[in-house]
Symmetry: none
Subunit: 410 residues, 2 copies
């Protein structure tokens, strides 16, 4: 069984509103083994609705439509679907009763405009909207199922959970699409691809792999299709194998983040952490403190953007700043050790580099960055050579520094 | 001229990644008067790509495609478009040189996989990717323009700005959709709507207004359609009026940010700034340092997550921490003044609060936050009462603190 999602609404096409409904629906359908073939957004326009719904019905067995069901003039999904299914509007007493009680419970009068929402195409089965006013509509054409839902996200989600998903689940049978994402850091996409080439080439036909890179991190998404238990077992086997091949780089699964994984390692061992940030400008501290409960292990940070503060708050030697410059192994080492000492923590991270896009020299071009991690027993420094994009450099440096710490913690 | 946007990538169709590229592209196309007819997301699959690109070319004059251009096996957009345009791959020496210098500048070797990215269909004109490895491709079919770009958002945006939008702008006629965004802080969306209700109701028919709220900030986007010069003049008149009505809250226009506006004010007056952050955990420092050139006025930050560090690095009085607690007017005032003194700056910002979702008490529920700004002559403190969402609280607090500083600087 495959599905298409059609979003109706001009606001999407002018870029005013980001369509988050389709992603949510897609993710829910995948869980019950329904593959989403296509997502599309179209205008509130009769011709476009007729054309696109017709195209969707031709190529998929389930069509989920959202949007354009409101009570106002610009909402034309209902009358256009009515036309498409060569149907006529009738007045549904049951739906009207629900509308009446919806307004009663809010102490409001049912207006003529809202009363009209009980008029529905006689080719549809109404789907109850328990938290809004526009009912959903279920149509069938041969063996195809077409469902129209409101575009308001919480109304759509409620309708999906209460009515649409249970209905589709019954139709979907035992086959499922299972997915698992493995997170890596410290290796470029192309190097990772080379490293795991054999593993990838040996995946069974019903399995596939996708590379999803972001600054400093590459996510690997493995997808398997088939009977739930069989796929589950095979997936587990493949993941274990992959983890052993890329063990130097794998830091987590699914929704894990480096800051979460590092935080858990610190918490488990009752270690504390501080950061001394120059080129990352507080971004590592922000990542760490975006985790609820981080005050258990994260004590604080010195963002020493000026050389003065590197000396004053982190005791970096003035001579070394002059001799080697702020972006150097000597300085980043002293920054990390100064943070560990002054902020009284077990571990400390430091960063110093040229985030760009300006500020580079011939010896130290933009993207030259030093990171350091200091532990109760030693300090490790590492040089990165990144690109020209300031934000990407900040993010990639933060990921590299957190990953360096992670490796020391395990 | 109308356009279609085609996003290629399984990650969209399983709901793992929300497609934000299409909305951004749609909004940019609208600005130059190109109407977006349809947005669609499809799978990394030969048949689907061929079918959908062909459908798109039939109904629109411009087709913008993103995704599937990476160096790995699952990226098949290039070879599929090559097939569609009955073309052959050739090795583009110029693109290869660009790739080589991209890797050289990062001190990395150009791998065989990446070298293959210089192989392009001979039916296309390559579009330079200045910040990534996959070049864009421009195809033409009769009078239709088909452009394929990488899916990585920052690479795609750079390519759009540098090459694609200037090209399309030339093709679009005299009618324009002009947009102007006014940025406000320090007022809730509904209060702002009341304040400017008369102004809004008096807008001409070809003008419209949208409210775009985000934590601590409400953006107002005014859209006007018609002949460029006429709309431009009317727009200017309306904006001036709006600015005078909401002058207490307007802090910028278009792509301005609070950190940019504050940075410019500091730079102009040769003032320096530091921050002392508890609940914002370095996020204000991150915002300030995300601006290139911020080292001219931003000296650094103390992220004092623990009370110890509030005492040690910011000289907050131990007694006051005990008597009033870390989340109090007394403490946030001393944090700001301590940062100003220890980090030797003209101005300082401080934050202390309960970001949540846990950690609240009856007297100080989650969302209770104090901010302070200290200047060469005084310290101002302000209490915020926000909600339960940790990230929203961090962002809203940062916006409120930067806005408080901005008001002192003007």
């Amino acid at each position: 069984m495959n599905a298409e999602i059609v979003t109706i609404g001009d606001e999407i096409l002018i870029g005013q509103v980001t369509d988050t409904n389709s992603g949510w629906i897609a993710s829910e359908l995948n869980k019950i083994g329904v593959e989403v073939k296509r997502i599309r957004a179209i205008k509130d326009n009769r011709e476009d609705i007729l054309k696109n719904v017709s195209e969707a019905i031709e190529s998929s067995s389930i069509i989920l439509i959202t949007g354009g069901l409101g009570p106002t003039k610009d909402d034309i999904t209902k009358i256009t679907l009515c036309e498409y299914f060569e149907s006529k509007l009738y007045f549904d007493e049951e739906v009207c009763k629900q509308l009446q009680s919806f307004f009663d419970s809010r102490g409001k009068k049912l207006s003529e405009l809202n009363r009209k929402q009980a008029e529905l195409p006689d080719a549809c089965v109404p789907i109850s909207n328990t938290i809004g006013t526009a009912p959903g509509m279920l149509f069938q054409k041969k063996d195809k199922i077409i469902i129209s839902m409101p575009g308001v996200p919480y109304e759509m989600k409620e309708m999906m959970k209460q009515s649409v998903l249970p209905l589709l689940q019954k139709k979907a049978g035992p086959n499922r699409i299972l997915q698992h994402t493995i997170l890596t850091s410290g290796i470029a996409e192309s190097d990772l691809a080379e490293l795991i080439a054999d593993w990838e080439n040996n995946l069974p036909q019903n399995f596939s792999l996708a590379y999803l890179p972001q600054p400093g991190i590459v996510r690997l998404r493995i997808t398997g299709k088939g009977e739930e238990l069989v796929v589950k077992q095979e997936m587990e086997k493949r993941i274990n194998k992959l983890e052993s091949i890329a063990s130097d780089f794998v830091f987590g699964h699914g929704e894990d983040t480096l800051e979460k994984v590092v935080g858990e390692l610190l918490k488990k061992n009752k270690f504390t952490l501080s950061t001394a940030e120059s080129c990352t400008g507080g971004y590592i501290a922000h990542l760490l403190t975006s985790i609820s409960g981080s005050s258990d292990y994260f004590m604080g940070s010195v963002v020493s953007y000026s050389n003065d503060l590197k000396e004053k708050l982190l005791q970096v030697k003035s001579d070394d700043l002059k001799t080697y410059g702020a972006v150097s192994e000597q300085v980043v080492k002293q920054m990390a050790e100064g943070a560990r000492k002054n902020l009284k923590t077990d571990y400390a991270i430091a960063t110093s580099g040229i985030a760009g896009p300006t500020g580079g020299t011939k010896e130290k071009p933009v993207g030259t960055i030093w990171i350091a991690v200091t532990t109760p027993s030693k300090t490790i420094c590492k040089k990165l050579q990144l690109g020209n994009n300031r934000l990407v450099n900040i993010q990639a440096t933060s990921a590299a520094a957190l990953n360096l710490l992670r490796k020391e913690l395990i």
